[in-house]
């Protein structure tokens, strides 16, 4: 079965500290993978995407993610967080073949403290 697991429901980090959000997926093959972010009172926005090639992909606002086929993971990282990074982050999988359904993780709420 296809699924996405985000093991950390909430993460609190200090401003300026590094951040890593974990994402594991279950899929027979190599899926398309994404991170979406939802800032307070806003809709979900695409942060970055992985289709193929270089396993490290860059996104907006200094975020990057690394795809690992051997670990079935797609972890999100940022070297130095800002208070404005406080949001809910969703790891998302899209099957490569057929269908239009995105499979979401349950999300990780990030709180950045001053």
């Amino acid at each position: 079965a296809q699924s996405v697991t985000q093991p950390d429901a909430r993460v609190t980090v200090s401003e300026g500290a590094s951040l890593q959000l974990r994402c594991k997926y279950s899929y027979s093959g190599t899926p398309y993978l994404f991170w979406y972010v939802q800032y307070p009172r806003q809709g979900l926005q695409l942060l970055l995407k992985y289709y193929s090639g270089d396993p490290v992909v860059q996104g907006v606002n200094g975020f990057e993610a690394e795809f690992s086929k051997s670990n079935s993971s797609f972890h999100l990282r940022k070297a130095s967080v800002h208070w404005s990074d406080s949001a809910v982050y969703f790891c998302v999988l899209s099957p490569r073949q057929g269908g239009r359904a995105l499979i979401f993780g349950t999300g990780t709420t990030v709180s950045v403290s001053p």
Binding site: F34, G43, Q45, L46, V92, R96, R100, L102, F104
Partner: protein, 114 residues
């Protein structure tokens, strides 16, 4: 303009009463989606329109209706609301399917059923 607009933002409904949620987009996207999001759960796809063709998920087939009178608008209709329908409803749109992962989301409509 890359926005998806949803109305109403907040809806209070009585058990057994109908609910109609509206979504619009001006990006000429061929596909529009409705997701249901409950606290601490992943967004769940309810249905989507590809052009004029409606696709409903098997497990929510009988619970939700939808219409798309033109390319820009899409509604989500609940004929008789139950307590279990209380959730955030997210509308999204995309071009050429979701496999590319680039969905544009609205801010959501929060439905509370009493």
């Amino acid at each position: 303009d890359t926005t998806v607009k949803q109305n109403p933002r907040y809806k209070l409904a009585r058990v057994g009463k109908p609910v109609n949620l509206i979504c619009s987009q001006t990006m000429n996207h061929d596909t529009m989606y409705w997701y249901q999001k409950k606290p601490n759960q992943a967004p769940k796809l309810l249905l989507f329109y590809y052009d004029k063709i409606l696709n409903r998920e098997a497990d929510t087939f009988e619970k939700f209706q939808s219409s798309r009178p033109n390319n820009s608008f899409c509604s989500l209709y609940i004929g008789s609301a139950g307590l279990e329908y209380s959730a955030m409803y997210l509308c999204a749109s995309s071009r050429q399917g979701a496999n590319t992962g680039q969905l544009y989301f609205g801010e959501g409509s929060k439905l509370t059923v009493l």
